[in-house]
Every structure is written in C-alpha cells, then in structure tokens.
Amino acid sequence: MTPGIDLQGTFVRALTDLGLPAGAAKTVWIPLPMVLMLIVATVSIFICVWLERKISAAAQQRIGPEYVGPLGALQAVADGVKLIFKADITPAKADPWLFIIGPAIVVIPVFLSFLIVPFGQNLVITDLGIGIFLWIALSSITPIGLLMAGYSSNNKYSLLGGLRAAAQSISYEIPLALAVLAVVMMSNGLSTIDIVNQQSQYGILGWNIWRQPVGFVIFWISALAECERLPFDLPEAEEELVAGYQTEYTGMKFGLFYVGSYVNLMLSALIVSVLYLGGWSFPVPVESITALLGISETAPVVQIVAASLGIVMTMLKAYLLVFLTILLRWTVPRVRIDQLLDLGWKFLLPIALVNLLVTAGLKLTLPGFFGG
C-alpha cells in the first residue's frame, strides 16, 4: 500500500520552511481537519435533507421544494433559519437542565464519530487504533440524551418516546457490534484505515460485502434502527406519540434533534461504506490502472487524482446507501414495538452470532480469503 498524500506532513513542512517551529506548525494543523470535518458533516445534512425531500417527492410523483435556491437545494437552510428564530420554550414543569443538555448529548457524539471516518489513506482526522470501537461506544451515548430529553419534558409521549429510543438502541447495538466484530476479525484490526486497506486489494471483488453478505444486511438493519429511520422510527412515531421525545421541544433545540438524526444517517452510511463497500477504494484498484497506463503510482498527479477519487467514491457509496434508506422509507411500513424487539433479539442477534461463528471458522480454514 502506498501511503497516499500526506497533507499533514506537507502542511507542517511548508510552515516550518516559513520559519515556524515544528511544534507550532503542528498546532496550527490540528484544528484544520476538525473544522473541515465539521463543515463536511454540516453540509451533508443539507444534502441529506434535500435528497430526502426530492426522492420522497419523486416516489410520490410530486415535485418537492423548488423555489428556495436552485432546485430547492436551500430549503434546509431556510428551515434552519426559521428554527433559529423561533421562540425557544422550556415547559414550566420540565427539568430545565436535562431539557437543555438532552439535545446536545444527542448531537455531540454523532459529530465526534466523524473523527474516525476515513476518506483516504491519510484523509482522516485520527487513525485511532480502536477506530470502529470508538464509533460503537459513542453511538451508545445518544440514547442517554434521548432518554434525558424524554424524561425531562414531563410529558407522557416524550417519556414513552425516550424509553422506546433507549430500548431500541440497546437491542440493536448488540447485533451491530457483532456484525462489526466479524469484519474486525477478518481485517485483524479495529482501525478503519486497516479495514479499508484489507478490502481494497482486488477492487470491487475484494469488498467485504462479498465475504460478509449476512453481516452487511444485519449491520444495515441495525444501523437503520440506530438512526431511527422509517421502518424503525418508533421513538418519534407521529401517529402514536405525537413526536416522541421531541414533543416539547421548540426552536433550535428541536432542530438539533433533526441535525443529529441526519448526521447520524450520513455517518451510518459512511461507516457501512467503510466496513463493507471498500471505503475510498475504486471498483478497480488504482494500482492496476496506473500499471496499465504505465505511470508511477507515487507521481504527485496520480496521488492527487487518487485522493480526490477516494473522496468521491466514499461519498458516492454513502449517498447510494442514503438513497436506499429513503426508498426504504416509502416502501416498508413502521414495525410495532414488539415486532421491533422480536426482530432485534430473536432474529438479528442469533444470526449475527452464527455469522460471527462461521466467519471465525472460515478464517481458520481459509485464511487466504478471510484474513489469516
């Protein structure tokens, strides 16, 4: 594997050449990728909302937002501005502290999880050794926020919504973690970079989805449940619970829940593309293309093209999955709470365990294919 472009190295070297001490140069670098990631995550909300509206509209033979910005692309911005200017009401008998902290606890871990999402060999904020584990850990903080929001609103619908959210998140965390574990076992590492590298040798044929089809389905279903997307949107089921834990929220606090859910959706799609669809790798390995064209793999032009291709590929795969979720939203009806728990505990959990066991067995018997 080539190291890819090392933005940090180049940046630090450029600053030290300008006469800055190495430590200071590194300090200047640190916030840059974080801010960039924050921007990427925020922009992805707008794209997701836009896609959601347009695809929903298309599926229902409507037009969707049209007048705000080109093709209605700025509708989400308009909605955000509206939410900011709305009155921010805290119900009189609510617990003010929990009420305020709730949405923040929902949103912050989701944004934090972007730390480990790689867009290229070196295009990641931190290549943590525990990578994917951090994501699982962070994603289980979210239900605490939801429970806080539901409890503190002092409203029966909110409480029910919060409880449902907690129950759902906890039950689906387990199959999710087991599906991830099978992938981790194959790539001998928790780091997202390692996971992608392990899949990217043979182009599209090497992607984990071929070796882990069951794991992919389990992961995707669990991720949808974690995001509270439509077949599993019980915590905010409008017809039963008004809006679940969001019932008493107004203004930007309400908006934060929306931001959280859309960023979470985007994040899950990104993680699926990293774990199962080869992350940033092109369907044909870049090395073979360069070999075919007879260019050196380490030439700067190739590096830049490969890096941008990687970002585009990651995004493309993620948005394809987002598209699938939106399509699924208009296809599958909402499950009942008992069906939801049935599906999680009685179906996904045993299958995830069997999948893990089979993967372990195959890893021992066919170490070449399943990562020895």
Partner: protein
C-alpha cells in the same frame, strides 16, 4: 433434532420470502420515481373545475319566492330565509337570505329542489378566511359570481385529468387546440339538433298527408 431443523428451515424460508417482498416493494417505489409528477403549482396554476363542480352556492335574490323548499331539503336546514307576508299583494316578500358555508356540506340538494332555479353551484372553492363567521354569506355575497380561472391573468389554468386528450397524463404544455377524448356535449347537441331539423319538415309533410 429433525423437528428443530425443520423449524430452522421454515424460518429461513419465511425470511427469504420477507426479503423477496421487501425487494418487490422497493422495485415498486423505484418505478414510481420514474413517473412524472402530476403537481399543479396551486397559486400560480389552477385546475379548471369541471362543469359539475359543486362549489359555493350562487343565489339570485329576485327569482326567489321564499318557499323554503331549500330549507326543507337541506340535511341541516341551513339556508336562512327571512320573509314577510305582504297583505296587499298576498305574496311573500323576501328580506334576507343567507347560507353559512362553514356548515354547508355542498350536497347540492337545495339547488336541485329550488322550484325557481334561483340557486346554482359555482366553481368557487377558495373560501379560506380568518374567522368562520365570515363564511356566513348573505344574499349580496351569495349573488357574486366567482372569477373564472381561465380569465385570471395571474393564473395558468390547467385541465383536469378527465379533460386531457387521449393518452396525455400531464396538463402542462399541451399543444394548442387539443380536445379531450370522446365527443364534446355541444357537438352531440348540434348533431341531434341537425337531425331533428331534418326530420321536422318530413314529419310535417307526413302529418299533412294523414290528415287530408
């Protein structure tokens, strides 16, 4: 053991079936995405109401004989007919007439039964107001004619689905002069009249012959 295996097999079969059905559902949703939107962008474009549209009721004050038939046939006795008996002419004089469109169900019974045809249903459906009492129309308001969609310069009139030419699904950008499928009532009427006109002289001649 065999029983258990059978259970597992059945379970797997059910799962495969469920997956198949979800796949079918997805393909239906996906297929719908290819279809053109049928949206009529309301305040800028409006559908032309059909001839039989049952909109706000129009009332002609001078035709009304205050017989109160409309009140009797109304499912909720809604029209308010305020009349006085005029002893000199021995007739009722109508003072006021009103219908509250916040209560009316637009069933059209009053229109159907009015002996003097002074009630009719218009194509007006934009009755939104800030106060429900504004919907209580008196005889002046009831006498107003609605603005025709086709004459409104601010609005692009759109034909309803049944009035589109054969095969067309979208009312936008229709070529000029296209007609709806089937024959228009006015053509049929003209044809009938022409036939009758042809028949009448012959009939007259026949009658003359028989009488003579």
């Amino acid at each position: 053991m065999l029983n258990f295996l059978k259970q597992v097999g059945d379970y797997a079969k059910e799962t495969a079936q469920a997956a198949k059905f979800i796949g079918q559902g997805l393909s239906v949703t996906f297929d719908h995405m290819k279809r053109r939107p049928v949206t009529v962008q309301y305040p800028y474009e409006k559908v032309i109401p059909s001839e039989r549209y049952r909109g706000r009721i129009h009332f002609e004050f001078d035709k009304c004989i205050a017989c109160e038939v409309c009140v009797r046939v109304c499912p909720i006795n809604l029209p308010v007919v305020d009349w006085e008996f005029n002893r000199e002419t021995k007739k009722k004089t109508l003072n006021h007439y009103s219908i509250d469109f916040g209560v009316c169900i637009f069933c059209g019974n009053c229109v159907e039964y009015c002996p003097t045809n002074c009630l009719s249903m218009t194509e007006e459906y934009e009755l939104a107001s800030y106060d429900r009492h504004n919907l209580n129309y008196d005889n002046v308001a009831l006498g107003r004619l609605p603005y025709k969609v086709t004459e409104d310069p601010m609005v692009a009139p759109m034909r309803e689905f049944a009035y589109l030419p054969k095969g067309a699904m979208d009312p936008h950008d229709l070529p000029k002069g296209t007609q709806r499928a089937g024959r228009l009532p006015k053509d049929i009427l003209a044809e009938i009249e022409a036939e009758e006109a042809k028949k009448t002289p012959a009939n007259a001649a026949a009658e003359e012959k028989s009488s003579s």
